[in-house]
C-alpha cells in the first residue's frame, strides 16, 4: 500500500507517494528527479547516496520514506545551488577520476564543514564514503582548503 509523505527538500516543501519501505534514494532519483544522489550499494555501506537529514549526513539507500515525514532533506543539488566553496575546490584540485562517489562525499563534507568540524574529523567521518579511483588525497586537500 502506498503512503503519502511530505517533507522539505533543499528548502522546498515536497510530497511523494510510495511504499513506506521504499528507500528515500529511489524517490529522489525517480519522482523528485534529483539524480545527483547516486545508488552505489543499496545497503548503506558505500556512501554514494549520502544526503542530509535535518543537517546530519545519512545514507538514503536504506532510509525508508516513512521515516522522513516532516524532516529537512538536503541533497547535492542543494549544496551546488548554494555555491558551497567545497564544490569549486574539488574541481580545482582535480579531486576525482570517475566522480561517482563525489556527490555523496561533497554532501557529507560540506555539511560537516558548515558545522565547523576540522579537516581531520571530516577525514575520519568520510570513512563512510568509499572511493575506488584513489582520489582521497586530493579530496582531502580540497577539504583542508575550505574547512576552517
Amino acid at each position: 500500500m502506498n503512503e503519502a509523505v511530505a517533507f522539505t527538500l533543499n528548502g522546498k516543501e515536497v510530497r511523494i507517494e510510495g511504499p513506506p519501505a521504499m528507500p528515500l534514494l529511489f524517490a529522489l532519483r525517480g519522482q523528485l528527479d534529483h539524480k545527483g544522489t547516486r545508488l552505489g550499494c543499496g545497503e548503506g555501506h558505500c556512501g554514494a547516496c549520502t544526503v542530509t537529514l535535518d543537517g546530519v549526513p545519512v545514507t538514503s539507500c536504506d532510509l525508508p520514506i516513512s521515516a522522513i515525514a516532516g524532516k529537512n532533506v538536503g541533497t547535492v543539488e542543494g549544496v551546488l545551488a548554494a555555491d558551497h566553496p567545497l564544490a569549486a575546490a574539488l574541481i580545482r584540485h582535480q579531486a576525482g577520476q570517475c566522480g561517482y562517489c563525489l556527490p555523496g562525499i561533497l554532501t557529507r563534507a560540506a555539511a560537516l564543514i558548515d558545522q565547523g568540524q576540522c579537516a581531520e574529523d571530516i577525514r575520519n567521518a568520510l570513512d563512510a564514503n568509499l572511493c575506488r579511483c584513489g582520489a582521497h588525497g586530493r579530496i582531502m586537500a580540497a577539504i583542508r582548503e575550505v574547512a576552517s
Binding site: G18, P19, M22, P23, F26, R29, G30, D33, H34, K35, G36, R38, L39, G40, C41, G42, E43, H45, C46, A48, V76, E77, L80, A87, L90, I91, R92, Q94, G96, Q97, C98, G99, Y100, C101, L102, P103, L106, R123, N124, L126, D127, N129, L130, C131, R132, C133, G134, A135, H136, G137, R138, I139, M140
Partner: protein
C-alpha cells in the same frame, strides 16, 4: 613520427574530425572516458594542434555509428595510440585548412597562423577561419600525407595541467548513463544464479504487481518494472524463492586448487642456458581473486525500434560489444548501434558488457526501453574477477652475487575473457538462453605484453631467463582483465626476489637493482624515488620498502618507496614515487592516475580478497570486502621526470606493481619474514608471526 595502429586502420582526416560552421570542432575517438581523464587529454592534443580553445572541441567517444573502431580502451594505450592518431589527424586538418586559405589569399601556408580558429597573416585576421572554410575543404584524405605535428617545444596546451573537461559535470545529475531517461523507459534487475554451474529448478508461482513483468528466456530471469524500487524488491522476492541445483565445479577452491589441476603448461620465454649459480634464491607469492569494486553498479539502457537495437553502455569496447550482441541475439550487426555513455570508474573487464545484453533482452521482453542495473552482490559474485594466481621465482647468483639465471612459474587462469577476444562473445547471459552458448575459456595477450605472465619476465639484466605459465582447469568464478593483469603479483614477487638476492649477496637492495640495470631512465626513477624519501627514521614498528618496474618492460617507468608502521595491522604512512611516462599530456592528470593506482595497489595488498568456501563465493557486500578508506590513505608525493619530447608511454597501469612491491617489502623489513600470501591483513600478520 610513427603511424599509430588506429590511424593505419582509419587513415582519413575525416574519420577523426570535422569543422562546424559555428566554429566548433567535432572530434571522434574510439577511446572512451572511464574516469581516467582521456577525454581531457585527447581534447588538449587536438586543441593544441589546431590552435583552438579547449571548449571549441566537441568530443564523441565510442559510438559504433561514427567513431573510428579503435578497439578496447585498455593497457594504458589511449594516449600512446589513440592520442597520437588524433595528433596526426588534427595536424593534417590544420595543414589542409591553411593550404586552402593560402590559395584564397594568394600567399603561402607558411605565412599563415591560426589563433582560436581564426586564420592570421602578419598578425592580422584574414577574415578566414576554420568555420568559414568548413564546407570548402575536403578532409577525406590520408592524414599521413599532410600531418606535421608541432615540435614538443611549440606545444601550448598539451603538456599543461588544464582542468578536467568532465569533472564538474560528474558532480551533477544527468552526466552519467545511470541518469539516462527515455520515454516509456522501465527499470530492470536480473536474477543471478548462485554459482557458475547452478541450474534452475521449477519456477515458483509469483504474482507481480501492476507495472511489473517477469522476463524469462531459458534460465535468464529478470524483473522489469515502471518503478525502479519495485523492480528491485520483486527481483529480490523472486530470487529468495528459487530452487537451484549446484554442480561439481562448486567444490574447487580458487587458491588451494590452483596447483591441483593444471590444464596446460606453456613455456613463454626461454633462454638456452639456465646456468647453475653458487647461490639459489626463491620466492613464492599467492594473490587471491579480487573484485573490480567500482562504486557505481553496472548499468545499460536498451531500446528496440522495430528491428533496430540501440544500446547505451559504459563498455571498454563498444565495437566488440556490438558484434557480441549480434551473435548472442542472432541479429544482424548492422541493425545494432552501441553508444558509450560514462559510468563509474572502470579498472578492467567488469560487468558493463554483460548488463548491456541483459538490457537488450529485457527491452525485447517487455517491448519498451529498459534501464538495467546490477546489484552490489552481483558485482562481487557474478562479474568477472581478477583471477587468483601464484607466482614462483628462482634466481641463481654467481660468486660476486650477480644474478646469472632466473626462472619463473606463473600459475593462473587467463587474464582476458573480453567480449570479442578469442572470437567469443562472452556475455554472461548467453549461457542461460534457450540456445545456450557456453562461455569461452579466454586467453592471454602473448609476450612481450603478456597476460598472467605480464612483467614475469624481469626487466633486469640477467643472462638467462625462463618463464613458464601453468593454467588450471577448473575455476569456480569468471575471470578476466583488471588493471595491469598479472603485473601486480609478478612485480611484487620479482621485487621481493631482488631484495632476497641483495641480502644473499650482502648488498643494499637499491644498489643491487641499479647494478642489474643499464637503462638511464630506469636508473633515474629509482634514484629519484630513493632521494625523495630522504633519510629513514628508525623504530621497531617502522619499515621502508622499495619497488620498481617498467610496465610491460616497454611502457612507463615507476619507482616507489613506501614507509609503513606495523601495529595490529599494516598502515602505510607515506609513498614517494618517481615516474617517467615520456610525454605527459596533462601532468596533473597523469599524477592523479599514478596515485590512484598506488592507492588501489595498497588496498589490494593489505585488504582485498574474494572469500570462498570450496568454490562458493562468499563475498556479498562491502562488509565482506573492505577497501582502503579515507583514514587509511598515506601521504603521497609523486614526481614525473620523463622528457616531454619523448613518445607518450601511458600511465594508468604503471604504479600498481611497484607500489604493491614497496608495501610488501616494507612489511618484510619490519617483520623479518617473507610474506607468501596476499592480502597482508590483520589476520595474515598474526599467521606470519606465528
Amino acid at each position: 613520427m610513427n603511424v599509430p595502429p588506429p590511424l593505419k586502420n582509419f587513415p582519413l582526416v575525416s574519420q577523426w574530425l570535422s569543422f562546424a560552421s559555428d566554429g566548433g570542432v567535432d572530434l571522434l575517438s574510439g577511446r572512451v572516458e572511464l574516469g581516467q581523464g582521456i577525454a581531457t587529454a585527447l581534447t588538449q592534443i587536438a586543441a593544441d594542434e589546431l590552435d583552438v580553445a579547449i571548449n571549441a572541441i566537441r568530443l564523441t567517444q565510442g559510438h559504433t555509428g561514427v567513431s573510428p573502431a579503435e578497439g578496447p580502451t585498455v593497457g594504458s594505450l589511449s594516449v600512446t595510440f589513440g592520442g597520437q592518431s588524433i595528433r596526426m589527424a588534427t595536424a593534417a586538418a590544420r595543414a589542409l585548412m591553411l593550404g586552402h586559405a593560402a590559395e584564397l589569399l594568394q600567399t603561402t601556408a607558411s605565412d599563415l597562423t591560426v589563433c582560436a580558429g581564426e586564420i592570421i597573416k602578419d598578425g592580422l585576421e584574414t577574415g578566414l577561419s576554420y568555420a568559414s572554410l568548413s564546407a570548402d575543404v575536403d578532409l577525406a584524405v590520408p592524414a599521413v600525407d599532410h600531418a606535421q605535428p608541432k615540435a614538443a617545444s611549440d606545444r601550448q596546451i598539451a603538456g599543461t595541467s588544464v582542468q578536467r573537461v568532465d569533472l564538474a559535470a560528474r558532480l551533477t545529475a544527468g552526466y552519467l548513463l545511470h541518469d539516462m531517461e527515455l520515454n516509456g523507459m522501465w527499470h530492470g534487475r536480473v536474477i543471478q544464479p548462485p554459482a557458475l554451474d547452478a541450474t534452475l529448478g521449477a519456477l515458483p508461482d509469483l504474482e507481480l504487481p501492476d507495472g511489473a513483468q517477469l522476463v524469462r528466456e531459458g534460465q535468464f530471469l529478470a524483473v522489469v518494472a515502471v518503478d525502479e524500487y519495485v523492480a528491485l524488491r520483486e527481483a529480490r522476492r523472486l530470487a529468495g524463492r528459487l530452487d537451484w541445483q549446484m554442480g561439481s565445479i562448486s567444490s574447487v577452491h580458487p587458491i588451494d586448487g590452483l596447483e591441483a589441476d593444471i590444464a596446460e603448461s606453456e613455456t613463454l620465454y626461454d633462454s638456452d642456458d639456465l646456468m647453475a649459480g653458487i647461490t639459489e634464491v626463491s620466492i613464492s607469492l599467492t594473490k587471491p581473486a579480487l573484485s573490480h569494486g567500482s562504486i557505481g553498479l553496472s548499468c545499460a539502457v536498451a531500446q528496440w525500434q522495430g528491428d533496430a537495437l540501440k544500446v547505451w553502455a559504459h563498455s571498454q569496447n563498444v565495437f566488440a560489444l556490438k558484434d557480441s550482441l549480434a551473435r548472442v541475439l542472432k541479429h544482424p550487426a548492422e541493425l545494432i548501434t552501441v553508444i558509450f555513455a560514462p559510468g563509474a570508474g572502470c579498472y578492467g573487464h567488469n560487468s558493463s558488457d554483460d548488463v548491456a545484453l541483459d538490457a537488450a533482452l529485457m527491452a525485447r521482453g517487455v517491448g519498451r526501453p529498459v534501464r538495467a542495473l546490477w546489484q552490489r552482490q552481483d558485482e562481487f559474485q557474478n562479474a568477472p574477477l581478477n583471477p587468483a594466481m601464484k607466482t614462483q621465482m628462482t634466481a641463481r647468483l654467481d660468486d660476486a652475487g650477480r644474478i646469472v639465471s632466473f626462472d619463473a612459474r606463473v600459475i593462473s587462469p587467463p587474464h582476458s575473457t573480453r567480449p570479442g577476444g578469442a572470437d567469443e562473445p562472452n556475455l554472461r547471459a548467453q549461457q542461460f538462453l534457450p540456445n545456450a552458448m557456453p562461455m569461452g575459456p579466454g586467453d592471454d595477450p602473448p609476450q612481450p605484453q603478456g597476460g598472467a605472465d605480464r612483467n614475469a619476465v624481469p626487466g633486469y639484466l640477467i643472462p638467462a631467463v625462463r618463464v613458464v605459465r601453468d593454467r588450471p582447469v577448473h575455476v569456480p568464478y569468471r575471470y578476466s582483465a583488471m588493471r595491469g593483469l598479472g603485473t601486480f603479483t609478478n612485480v611484487i614477487a620479482l621485487e621481493q626476489l631482488m631484495e632476497s638476492c641483495a641480502e644473499a649477496a650482502g648488498q643494499d637492495g637499491i644498489e643491487y637493482r641499479l647494478a642489474h640495470l643499464d637503462d638511464p631512465r630506469a636508473i633515474a626513477v629509482i634514484e629519484t624515488a630513493r632521494d625523495m624519501a630522504g633519510p629513514w627514521d628508525k623504530a621497531d614498528d617502522v619499515g621502508y620498502g622499495f619497488g620498481y618496474a617498467r610496465y610491460k618492460n616497454s611502457a612507463g617507468y615507476l619507482a616507489c618507496m613506501a614507509r609503513i608502521v606495523v601495529g595490529d595491522e599494516v598502515r602505510v604512512t607515506d609513498v614517494w614515487s618517481a615516474g617517467d611516462v615520456g610525454e605527459a599530456i596533462n601532468p596533473d592528470g597523469t599524477i592523479n592516475q599514478i596515485e590512484g593506482g598506488i592507492v588501489q595497489a595498497i588496498s589490494w595488498a593489505l585488504k582485498e580478497e574474494i572469500g570462498f568456501a570450496g568454490g562458493q563465493n562468499l563475498t556479498q557486500s562491502w562488509e565482506d570486502y573492505p577497501i582502503l578508506k579515507f583514514s587509511e590513505i598515506p601521504r603521497l608525493q609523486t614526481r614525473l621526470i620523463g622528457p616531454q619530447d619523448a613518445v607518450p608511454l601511458g600511465a594508468g597501469e604503471i604504479s600498481s606493481g611497484p607500489a604493491g612491491a614497496a608495501v610488501v617489502n616494507a612489511v618484510r623489513a619490519v617483520l623479518g619474514v617473507v610474506p607468501e600470501r596476499l592480502p597482508l591483513s590483520r589476520h595474515a600478520l598474526v599467521a606470519l608471526l606465528s
